[in-house]
Symmetry: C2
Subunit: 167 residues, 2 copies
């Protein structure tokens, strides 16, 4: 009989997300606050915007996974539906850094309690009919996608490094 590795693999996927989140936390505590107001490349997003964007994107997993409401629903308009530098900043890097940490702790506590059947189940942005046809559109797939999304933007954030010394 084949060993059931399901729980171990789910744990590996959660670990990859947590490890990437920690790397991003380290990036945002490494320099003086003013540093994060810099664009990652000429004319592109600033680091502070990308942090708000990652918070808003990951926060949406709470309602998608039926784990409750988003912690910071007010970030969606600014960081998911509006480009950077459209209006004056309403949040400081210190505030966003705190949101990011609180969100990661909240998500990690939920993920720790979720069972295999939860992860393999439908998320709230796919209908029951569509899920019956495409069972891979489960919660675990959302976490895999969000982890890749984080890495995509972390690759951009690292372009800022080496410009100024760490504090």
């Amino acid at each position: 009989m084949e060993t059931n590795f399901t729980e171990q693999i789910i744990k590996q996927i959660i670990n990859a997300w947590a490890s990437n989140s920690k790397t991003i936390s380290n990036f945002f505590t490494k320099y003086e606050d003013a540093y994060y107001l810099t664009e990652v490349a000429p004319g592109r997003n600033r680091a502070i915007y990308l942090l708000g964007h990652l918070i808003a994107s990951n926060d949406s997993m709470l309602p998608m996974f039926d784990l409750g409401e988003s912690l910071y629903p007010e970030l969606e308009a600014t960081f998911l539906r509006t480009p950077d530098k459209t209006a004056a900043d309403t949040l400081t890097i210190a505030e966003l850094r705190q949101y990011w940490e609180t969100l990661n702790t909240t998500l990690a506590a939920h993920f720790d309690k979720m069972q295999t059947q939860d992860w393999m189940g439908r998320h709230n942005r796919v209908s029951e009919e569509d899920f019956a046809l495409e069972p891979m559109r489960n919660k675990l797939n959302v976490l895999i996608g969000r982890t890749n999304h984080q890495q995509y933007h972390y690759g951009q954030l690292t372009l800022l490094t080496q410009k100024v010394p760490a504090v």
Copy 2:
């Protein structure tokens, strides 16, 4: 009894890798060849270097997974151990594009044949002793990591877009 979702989850992880690889293929066929000689940000890697880097990095999965020798071992020195713009280019973007496609086809054919026990087994950069202590250092974890690595660099590559029209 709990359903064994192991094969489905492994398939989801392979799909995430394949989907990201395809996105990168599309990026590298979208513009004129000269475009890929541009740096992704001032003073940083050029797109052509990042493509060589991704090929060399993913190619190493073949020996790591006991699937044979690397297809392009000569790329390791240039794209993994030497920074960009150290010497004149020895390969054109057209050649690297072909390497990337051949490598992806080769890896996909191998991945399609691999069984759960293969994925959950040790890769060749971890000793039997270390693997006994850390069973999550398996082949599947390498694929998760390589997928994240691709996305990290794809996030950098997209900074080039919107500078010139697509061909």
